[in-house]
Protein backbone atom coordinates (compact mmCIF):
# COMPACT_ATOMS: atom_id res chain seq x y z
CA UNK A 1 0.00 0.00 0.00
CA UNK A 2 2.99 2.37 -0.12
CA UNK A 3 3.51 5.15 -2.61
CA UNK A 4 6.36 3.23 -4.08
CA UNK A 5 4.37 0.25 -5.27
CA UNK A 6 4.85 1.19 -8.86
CA UNK A 7 8.60 1.45 -8.46
CA UNK A 8 8.86 -1.78 -6.55
CA UNK A 9 7.10 -3.92 -9.12
CA UNK A 10 9.31 -4.94 -11.97
CA UNK A 11 7.90 -5.34 -15.42
CA UNK A 12 7.29 -9.11 -15.25
CA UNK A 13 5.24 -8.76 -12.04
CA UNK A 14 3.03 -6.12 -13.61
CA UNK A 15 2.50 -8.31 -16.63
CA UNK A 16 1.49 -11.17 -14.38
CA UNK A 17 -1.23 -9.05 -12.76
CA UNK A 18 -2.30 -7.79 -16.14
CA UNK A 19 -2.66 -11.34 -17.45
CA UNK A 20 -4.53 -12.38 -14.32
CA UNK A 21 -7.07 -9.57 -14.67
CA UNK A 22 -7.50 -10.21 -18.38
CA UNK A 23 -8.10 -13.92 -17.75
CA UNK A 24 -10.52 -13.16 -14.93
CA UNK A 25 -12.54 -10.83 -17.12
CA UNK A 26 -12.82 -13.49 -19.83
CA UNK A 27 -13.86 -16.15 -17.27
CA UNK A 28 -16.56 -13.87 -15.84
CA UNK A 29 -17.74 -12.89 -19.30
CA UNK A 30 -17.87 -16.50 -20.50
CA UNK A 31 -19.83 -17.48 -17.39
CA UNK A 32 -22.30 -14.68 -18.12
CA UNK A 33 -21.64 -12.73 -14.90
CA UNK A 34 -20.37 -9.54 -16.52
CA UNK A 35 -20.96 -7.67 -19.75
CA UNK A 36 -17.64 -6.10 -20.89
CA UNK A 37 -19.57 -3.22 -22.47
CA UNK A 38 -20.88 -2.34 -19.00
CA UNK A 39 -17.30 -2.24 -17.72
CA UNK A 40 -16.42 0.22 -20.50
CA UNK A 41 -19.29 2.50 -19.46
CA UNK A 42 -18.16 2.34 -15.83
CA UNK A 43 -14.55 3.22 -16.67
CA UNK A 44 -15.61 6.06 -18.95
CA UNK A 45 -17.82 7.46 -16.21
CA UNK A 46 -14.97 7.58 -13.68
CA UNK A 47 -12.38 8.84 -16.16
CA UNK A 48 -14.45 11.49 -17.88
CA UNK A 49 -17.52 12.52 -15.86
CA UNK A 50 -16.87 11.98 -12.16
CA UNK A 51 -13.92 14.05 -10.99
CA UNK A 52 -12.72 17.03 -8.97
CA UNK A 53 -14.09 19.51 -11.50
CA UNK A 54 -17.48 18.71 -9.98
CA UNK A 55 -16.30 19.73 -6.52
CA UNK A 56 -14.71 22.84 -7.99
CA UNK A 57 -18.16 23.93 -9.20
CA UNK A 58 -19.64 23.33 -5.74
CA UNK A 59 -16.95 25.41 -4.03
CA UNK A 60 -17.02 28.25 -6.58
CA UNK A 61 -20.78 28.47 -6.28
CA UNK A 62 -20.61 28.46 -2.49
CA UNK A 63 -18.07 31.30 -2.64
CA UNK A 64 -20.18 33.43 -4.94
CA UNK A 65 -23.75 32.65 -3.89
CA UNK A 66 -24.53 33.19 -0.18
CA UNK A 67 -27.90 31.41 -0.41
CA UNK A 68 -26.23 28.36 -1.96
CA UNK A 69 -23.53 28.49 0.71
CA UNK A 70 -26.23 28.39 3.38
CA UNK A 71 -27.97 25.41 1.75
CA UNK A 72 -24.65 23.60 1.34
CA UNK A 73 -23.78 23.95 5.01
CA UNK A 74 -27.27 22.89 6.10
CA UNK A 75 -27.77 19.87 3.80
CA UNK A 76 -24.72 19.19 1.63
CA UNK A 77 -26.18 16.11 -0.10
CA UNK A 78 -29.18 18.08 -1.36
CA UNK A 79 -27.18 21.20 -2.29
CA UNK A 80 -24.66 19.12 -4.25
CA UNK A 81 -27.52 17.28 -5.99
CA UNK A 82 -28.79 20.68 -7.20
CA UNK A 83 -25.70 20.68 -9.47
CA UNK A 84 -26.58 17.15 -10.57
CA UNK A 85 -23.85 15.35 -8.59
CA UNK A 86 -25.01 12.41 -6.52
CA UNK A 87 -24.69 8.71 -5.87
CA UNK A 88 -22.06 6.11 -5.14
CA UNK A 89 -19.69 7.13 -2.36
CA UNK A 90 -21.42 10.48 -1.94
CA UNK A 91 -24.81 9.33 -0.65
CA UNK A 92 -24.42 11.22 2.64
CA UNK A 93 -22.37 14.39 2.26
CA UNK A 94 -21.15 16.83 4.88
CA UNK A 95 -19.26 20.03 3.98
CA UNK A 96 -16.75 21.33 6.51
CA UNK A 97 -15.71 24.96 6.14
CA UNK A 98 -12.24 26.33 6.73
CA UNK A 99 -11.99 29.56 8.69
CA UNK A 100 -9.06 31.67 9.93
CA UNK A 101 -9.46 29.78 13.24
CA UNK A 102 -9.83 26.21 11.96
CA UNK A 103 -8.41 24.16 9.09
CA UNK A 104 -10.13 20.88 8.15
CA UNK A 105 -8.49 17.81 6.66
CA UNK A 106 -10.16 14.56 5.53
CA UNK A 107 -8.74 11.04 5.68
CA UNK A 108 -9.89 7.43 5.73
CA UNK A 109 -7.45 5.58 7.99
CA UNK A 110 -9.17 2.20 7.43
CA UNK A 111 -9.42 2.15 3.63
CA UNK A 112 -9.99 4.82 1.01
CA UNK A 113 -13.38 6.46 1.64
CA UNK A 114 -13.62 9.59 -0.48
CA UNK A 115 -16.51 11.65 -1.91
CA UNK A 116 -16.56 10.28 -5.48
CA UNK A 117 -19.38 12.38 -7.00
CA UNK A 118 -17.51 15.62 -6.24
CA UNK A 119 -13.85 14.52 -6.27
CA UNK A 120 -13.74 11.34 -8.39
CA UNK A 121 -11.59 8.37 -7.40
CA UNK A 122 -8.94 9.12 -4.78
CA UNK A 123 -5.31 9.71 -5.75
CA UNK A 124 -2.71 7.08 -4.78
CA UNK A 125 -1.32 9.19 -1.94
CA UNK A 126 -4.77 9.41 -0.29
CA UNK A 127 -4.97 5.59 -0.19
CA UNK A 128 -1.33 5.18 0.86
CA UNK A 129 -0.01 4.11 4.25
CA UNK A 130 1.95 7.34 4.86
CA UNK A 131 -1.18 9.50 4.55
CA UNK A 132 -3.57 7.16 6.34
CA UNK A 133 -1.19 6.68 9.28
CA UNK A 134 -0.04 10.26 9.77
CA UNK A 135 -3.04 12.42 8.91
CA UNK A 136 -4.62 11.73 12.32
CA UNK A 137 -1.47 11.98 14.46
CA UNK A 138 0.70 14.52 12.63
CA UNK A 139 -1.44 16.53 10.22
CA UNK A 140 0.93 19.51 10.29
CA UNK A 141 3.72 17.19 9.19
CA UNK A 142 1.51 15.90 6.38
CA UNK A 143 0.74 19.48 5.35
CA UNK A 144 4.51 20.13 5.21
CA UNK A 145 4.81 17.20 2.77
CA UNK A 146 2.39 19.17 0.59
CA UNK A 147 4.36 22.38 1.07
CA UNK A 148 1.68 23.95 3.26
CA UNK A 149 2.40 25.72 6.55
CA UNK A 150 -0.44 27.09 8.63
CA UNK A 151 -0.17 29.56 11.50
CA UNK A 152 0.63 27.72 14.76
CA UNK A 153 -2.54 29.08 16.30
CA UNK A 154 -4.84 27.71 13.60
CA UNK A 155 -6.73 24.73 14.96
CA UNK A 156 -6.40 21.57 12.88
CA UNK A 157 -9.48 19.43 12.64
CA UNK A 158 -9.11 15.98 11.04
CA UNK A 159 -12.18 14.03 9.87
CA UNK A 160 -11.59 10.26 9.67
CA UNK A 161 -14.26 8.85 7.31
CA UNK A 162 -15.01 5.62 9.15
CA UNK A 163 -18.66 5.32 8.04
CA UNK A 164 -20.62 6.19 4.87
CA UNK A 165 -20.57 9.92 5.56
CA UNK A 166 -18.36 11.67 3.00
CA UNK A 167 -16.66 14.97 3.74
CA UNK A 168 -15.81 17.83 1.41
CA UNK A 169 -13.68 20.72 2.65
CA UNK A 170 -14.87 24.19 1.71
CA UNK A 171 -11.65 26.20 1.56
CA UNK A 172 -11.48 29.91 2.38
CA UNK A 173 -12.10 32.22 -0.56
CA UNK A 174 -8.77 33.90 -1.36
CA UNK A 175 -8.43 37.60 -0.69
CA UNK A 176 -8.39 39.96 -3.64
CA UNK A 177 -11.22 38.20 -5.44
CA UNK A 178 -13.97 40.71 -4.74
CA UNK A 179 -16.37 40.92 -7.64
CA UNK A 180 -15.01 37.78 -9.34
CA UNK A 181 -17.47 35.62 -11.24
CA UNK A 182 -18.14 32.01 -10.34
CA UNK A 183 -16.12 30.93 -13.40
CA UNK A 184 -13.13 33.04 -12.36
CA UNK A 185 -13.29 31.72 -8.80
CA UNK A 186 -13.39 28.13 -10.07
CA UNK A 187 -9.88 28.57 -11.46
CA UNK A 188 -8.58 29.00 -7.91
CA UNK A 189 -10.02 25.78 -6.49
CA UNK A 190 -7.70 22.76 -6.37
CA UNK A 191 -8.55 19.15 -5.59
CA UNK A 192 -6.21 19.14 -2.58
CA UNK A 193 -7.87 22.27 -1.17
CA UNK A 194 -11.13 20.28 -1.05
CA UNK A 195 -9.42 17.43 0.89
CA UNK A 196 -7.62 19.83 3.21
CA UNK A 197 -4.07 18.97 2.18
CA UNK A 198 -3.75 22.12 0.15
CA UNK A 199 -4.95 25.70 -0.12
CA UNK A 200 -6.69 27.38 -3.07
CA UNK A 201 -4.52 29.19 -5.57
CA UNK A 202 -3.96 32.91 -5.05
CA UNK A 203 -5.19 35.36 -7.72
CA UNK A 204 -1.54 36.12 -8.62
CA UNK A 205 -0.98 32.45 -9.51
CA UNK A 206 -3.52 32.47 -12.33
CA UNK A 207 -2.93 36.00 -13.57
Amino acid sequence: MSDHDHDRHDHSELSETELRVRALESILTEKGYVDPAALDVLIDLYEKKIGPRNGVRVVAKAWSDPAYHARLMKDATAAIAELDYSGRQGEHMVVVENTPEQHNMVVCTLCSCYPHPVLGLPPVWYKSAPYRSRAVSDPRGVLRDFGVTLPETTKIRVWDSTAEIRYLVLPMRPEGTEGWSEQQLAELVTRDSMIGTGLPKQPSEIA
Binding site: M1, S2, D3, H4, T17, V21, A23, L24, E25, I27, L28, E30, K31, Y33, V34, D35, A38, L39, D40, V41, L42, I43, L45, E47, S86, G87, R88, E91, H92, V94, T109, L110, C111, P123, V124, W125, S128, A129, P130, R132, S133, R134, V136, S137, P139, V142, D145, F146, T153, I156, R157, V158, W159, D160, T162, A163, E164, I165, D192, T197
Partner: protein, 219 residues
Protein backbone atom coordinates in the same frame (compact mmCIF):
# COMPACT_ATOMS: atom_id res chain seq x y z
CA UNK B 1 -10.38 -7.07 12.98
CA UNK B 2 -7.11 -5.55 14.12
CA UNK B 3 -5.31 -5.79 10.80
CA UNK B 4 -2.70 -3.91 8.81
CA UNK B 5 -5.46 -1.85 7.21
CA UNK B 6 -6.08 -0.06 10.53
CA UNK B 7 -3.26 2.44 10.06
CA UNK B 8 -4.15 5.52 12.13
CA UNK B 9 -1.09 6.61 14.12
CA UNK B 10 1.24 3.81 12.93
CA UNK B 11 4.80 5.10 12.57
CA UNK B 12 7.47 4.52 9.98
CA UNK B 13 5.65 4.70 6.66
CA UNK B 14 7.55 7.83 5.68
CA UNK B 15 6.44 10.99 3.93
CA UNK B 16 3.37 11.45 1.75
CA UNK B 17 4.49 11.68 -1.87
CA UNK B 18 1.87 13.29 -4.13
CA UNK B 19 2.15 12.58 -7.85
CA UNK B 20 1.72 15.68 -10.04
CA UNK B 21 -1.01 15.36 -12.68
CA UNK B 22 -1.87 11.87 -11.52
CA UNK B 23 -4.10 9.88 -13.90
CA UNK B 24 -7.29 8.22 -12.61
CA UNK B 25 -5.76 4.81 -13.38
CA UNK B 26 -2.10 3.98 -13.96
CA UNK B 27 -2.53 0.83 -16.04
CA UNK B 28 -5.19 -0.82 -18.16
CA UNK B 29 -5.48 -3.69 -15.65
CA UNK B 30 -6.38 -1.19 -12.90
CA UNK B 31 -9.29 0.04 -15.01
CA UNK B 32 -10.55 -3.48 -15.57
CA UNK B 33 -9.99 -4.65 -11.94
CA UNK B 34 -11.88 -1.61 -10.64
CA UNK B 35 -14.76 -2.05 -13.08
CA UNK B 36 -14.99 -5.82 -12.51
CA UNK B 37 -15.21 -5.29 -8.75
CA UNK B 38 -17.94 -2.66 -9.03
CA UNK B 39 -19.87 -4.61 -11.68
CA UNK B 40 -19.72 -7.94 -9.81
CA UNK B 41 -21.22 -6.66 -6.54
CA UNK B 42 -24.88 -6.97 -7.59
CA UNK B 43 -24.67 -10.31 -9.45
CA UNK B 44 -22.30 -11.62 -6.76
CA UNK B 45 -24.70 -10.63 -3.99
CA UNK B 46 -22.26 -9.04 -1.55
CA UNK B 47 -22.45 -5.65 0.13
CA UNK B 48 -19.83 -2.93 0.64
CA UNK B 49 -18.94 -4.15 4.13
CA UNK B 50 -18.32 -7.68 2.89
CA UNK B 51 -16.07 -6.36 0.14
CA UNK B 52 -14.11 -4.17 2.56
CA UNK B 53 -13.57 -7.16 4.85
CA UNK B 54 -12.47 -9.34 1.92
CA UNK B 55 -9.73 -6.80 1.18
CA UNK B 56 -8.55 -6.27 4.75
CA UNK B 57 -8.84 -9.83 6.14
CA UNK B 58 -5.36 -11.02 5.23
CA UNK B 59 -1.90 -11.29 6.80
CA UNK B 60 -0.26 -7.87 7.32
CA UNK B 61 2.64 -8.70 5.00
CA UNK B 62 0.20 -9.58 2.24
CA UNK B 63 -1.92 -6.45 2.77
CA UNK B 64 1.11 -4.15 2.89
CA UNK B 65 2.84 -5.66 -0.14
CA UNK B 66 -0.13 -5.24 -2.47
CA UNK B 67 -0.95 -2.05 -4.33
CA UNK B 68 -4.44 -0.65 -3.93
CA UNK B 69 -5.98 -2.27 -6.99
CA UNK B 70 -4.11 -5.53 -6.32
CA UNK B 71 -6.01 -5.59 -3.02
CA UNK B 72 -9.26 -5.00 -4.90
CA UNK B 73 -8.45 -7.88 -7.23
CA UNK B 74 -7.56 -10.20 -4.33
CA UNK B 75 -10.75 -9.19 -2.50
CA UNK B 76 -12.86 -9.83 -5.60
CA UNK B 77 -11.32 -13.28 -6.05
CA UNK B 78 -12.03 -14.14 -2.40
CA UNK B 79 -15.67 -13.01 -2.60
CA UNK B 80 -16.31 -15.01 -5.77
CA UNK B 81 -14.60 -18.17 -4.54
CA UNK B 82 -16.53 -18.02 -1.23
CA UNK B 83 -19.81 -17.93 -3.15
CA UNK B 84 -18.91 -20.65 -5.65
CA UNK B 85 -19.03 -18.26 -8.60
CA UNK B 86 -15.56 -19.30 -9.71
CA UNK B 87 -13.04 -21.77 -8.30
CA UNK B 88 -9.45 -21.06 -7.29
CA UNK B 89 -8.40 -23.55 -9.98
CA UNK B 90 -10.19 -21.50 -12.62
CA UNK B 91 -8.49 -18.29 -11.49
CA UNK B 92 -5.07 -19.97 -11.49
CA UNK B 93 -5.67 -21.68 -14.85
CA UNK B 94 -7.14 -18.50 -16.34
CA UNK B 95 -9.99 -20.36 -18.00
CA UNK B 96 -13.46 -21.72 -17.32
CA UNK B 97 -13.37 -25.25 -15.82
CA UNK B 98 -16.87 -25.50 -14.35
CA UNK B 99 -20.38 -24.43 -15.35
CA UNK B 100 -21.62 -21.00 -14.21
CA UNK B 101 -23.74 -20.63 -11.11
CA UNK B 102 -27.30 -20.48 -12.45
CA UNK B 103 -29.55 -17.44 -12.24
CA UNK B 104 -26.85 -14.76 -12.33
CA UNK B 105 -27.74 -11.70 -14.37
CA UNK B 106 -24.95 -9.32 -15.37
CA UNK B 107 -25.22 -5.55 -15.07
CA UNK B 108 -26.26 -4.21 -18.49
CA UNK B 109 -24.45 -1.21 -20.02
CA UNK B 110 -27.53 1.01 -19.74
CA UNK B 111 -27.92 0.17 -16.04
CA UNK B 112 -24.47 1.46 -15.06
CA UNK B 113 -24.94 5.23 -14.98
CA UNK B 114 -28.32 5.16 -13.18
CA UNK B 115 -26.91 2.71 -10.60
CA UNK B 116 -23.85 4.84 -9.90
CA UNK B 117 -25.94 7.99 -9.66
CA UNK B 118 -28.31 6.26 -7.25
CA UNK B 119 -25.53 4.79 -5.10
CA UNK B 120 -26.35 2.83 -1.98
CA UNK B 121 -27.69 5.09 0.76
CA UNK B 122 -27.15 3.56 4.21
CA UNK B 123 -29.54 5.70 6.28
CA UNK B 124 -32.55 3.83 7.71
CA UNK B 125 -35.58 4.80 9.78
CA UNK B 126 -34.80 4.92 13.50
CA UNK B 127 -36.44 2.33 15.74
CA UNK B 128 -35.53 3.99 19.03
CA UNK B 129 -34.45 7.44 20.17
CA UNK B 130 -30.76 8.33 20.10
CA UNK B 131 -28.93 7.47 23.30
CA UNK B 132 -26.46 10.34 23.13
CA UNK B 133 -26.96 14.08 22.71
CA UNK B 134 -24.82 16.58 20.82
CA UNK B 135 -22.13 17.90 23.16
CA UNK B 136 -22.21 14.86 25.44
CA UNK B 137 -18.94 13.24 26.53
CA UNK B 138 -18.65 9.54 25.68
CA UNK B 139 -16.01 6.86 25.81
CA UNK B 140 -15.32 4.53 22.90
CA UNK B 141 -15.43 0.90 23.92
CA UNK B 142 -12.33 -1.26 24.02
CA UNK B 143 -13.21 -4.01 21.58
CA UNK B 144 -11.10 -6.34 19.44
CA UNK B 145 -13.49 -8.25 17.21
CA UNK B 146 -11.96 -10.83 14.89
CA UNK B 147 -14.58 -9.85 12.33
CA UNK B 148 -15.12 -6.56 10.45
CA UNK B 149 -15.45 -3.35 12.45
CA UNK B 150 -15.14 0.36 11.67
CA UNK B 151 -13.92 1.53 15.07
CA UNK B 152 -10.20 2.22 14.53
CA UNK B 153 -7.80 1.05 17.21
CA UNK B 154 -6.35 4.51 17.83
CA UNK B 155 -9.63 5.84 19.28
CA UNK B 156 -10.64 2.82 21.38
CA UNK B 157 -10.98 3.51 25.09
CA UNK B 158 -10.75 7.28 24.65
CA UNK B 159 -12.97 10.14 25.73
CA UNK B 160 -14.64 12.16 23.01
CA UNK B 161 -17.49 14.57 22.41
CA UNK B 162 -20.57 13.89 20.32
CA UNK B 163 -20.46 16.54 17.62
CA UNK B 164 -22.91 15.42 14.91
CA UNK B 165 -25.78 12.96 14.74
CA UNK B 166 -26.18 11.52 11.23
CA UNK B 167 -29.32 9.46 11.84
CA UNK B 168 -29.49 5.66 11.83
CA UNK B 169 -27.17 3.83 9.43
CA UNK B 170 -26.52 0.22 8.43
CA UNK B 171 -24.11 -1.36 10.95
CA UNK B 172 -21.02 -2.74 9.14
CA UNK B 173 -20.11 -5.19 11.91
CA UNK B 174 -23.25 -7.27 11.27
CA UNK B 175 -23.79 -6.37 7.60
CA UNK B 176 -20.30 -7.67 6.73
CA UNK B 177 -21.28 -11.06 8.18
CA UNK B 178 -24.59 -11.27 6.36
CA UNK B 179 -26.34 -10.98 9.72
CA UNK B 180 -28.55 -8.08 8.75
CA UNK B 181 -28.33 -4.30 8.61
CA UNK B 182 -29.05 -3.69 12.32
CA UNK B 183 -29.27 0.11 11.74
CA UNK B 184 -27.89 2.16 14.61
CA UNK B 185 -27.48 5.84 15.38
CA UNK B 186 -24.29 7.16 13.85
CA UNK B 187 -22.39 10.02 15.46
CA UNK B 188 -19.34 12.11 14.67
CA UNK B 189 -17.25 11.87 17.83
CA UNK B 190 -14.45 14.40 18.27
CA UNK B 191 -11.30 13.71 20.31
CA UNK B 192 -8.68 16.22 21.45
CA UNK B 193 -5.24 15.43 20.06
CA UNK B 194 -3.61 15.01 23.51
CA UNK B 195 -6.38 12.57 24.56
CA UNK B 196 -5.35 10.28 21.69
CA UNK B 197 -1.61 10.84 21.44
CA UNK B 198 -0.43 12.14 24.81
CA UNK B 199 0.27 15.44 26.51
CA UNK B 200 3.11 16.48 24.19
CA UNK B 201 0.77 16.48 21.21
CA UNK B 202 -0.07 19.66 19.32
CA UNK B 203 -2.90 21.12 21.46
CA UNK B 204 -4.56 22.65 18.38
CA UNK B 205 -5.27 19.16 16.95
CA UNK B 206 -8.60 17.41 17.15
CA UNK B 207 -9.66 14.29 15.29
CA UNK B 208 -13.09 12.80 14.73
CA UNK B 209 -14.39 9.43 13.66
CA UNK B 210 -17.92 8.43 12.73
CA UNK B 211 -19.02 5.90 15.34
CA UNK B 212 -22.13 3.75 15.61
CA UNK B 213 -23.96 3.88 18.92
CA UNK B 214 -22.86 0.43 20.08
CA UNK B 215 -19.21 1.53 19.81
CA UNK B 216 -19.83 4.10 22.55
CA UNK B 217 -20.53 4.14 26.28
CA UNK B 218 -21.60 6.73 28.81
CA UNK B 219 -19.04 8.13 31.21
Amino acid sequence: MDGAHDMGGVKGFGPVVPEPNEPVFHDEWERRAFALTVAMARPGGWNIDMSRFARENRPPEDYLSKSYFELWLAGLETLMIERGLVTREEIEAGKVLSPPKPGIKPVAPDEVTPAIRRGGPTERAPKAPALFAIGETVRTKVIHPVTHTRLPQYVRGHLGTIELNHGCHVFPDTNSLGKGEDPQWLYTVRFDGPELWGKDTDPTLSVSVDAWESYLERV
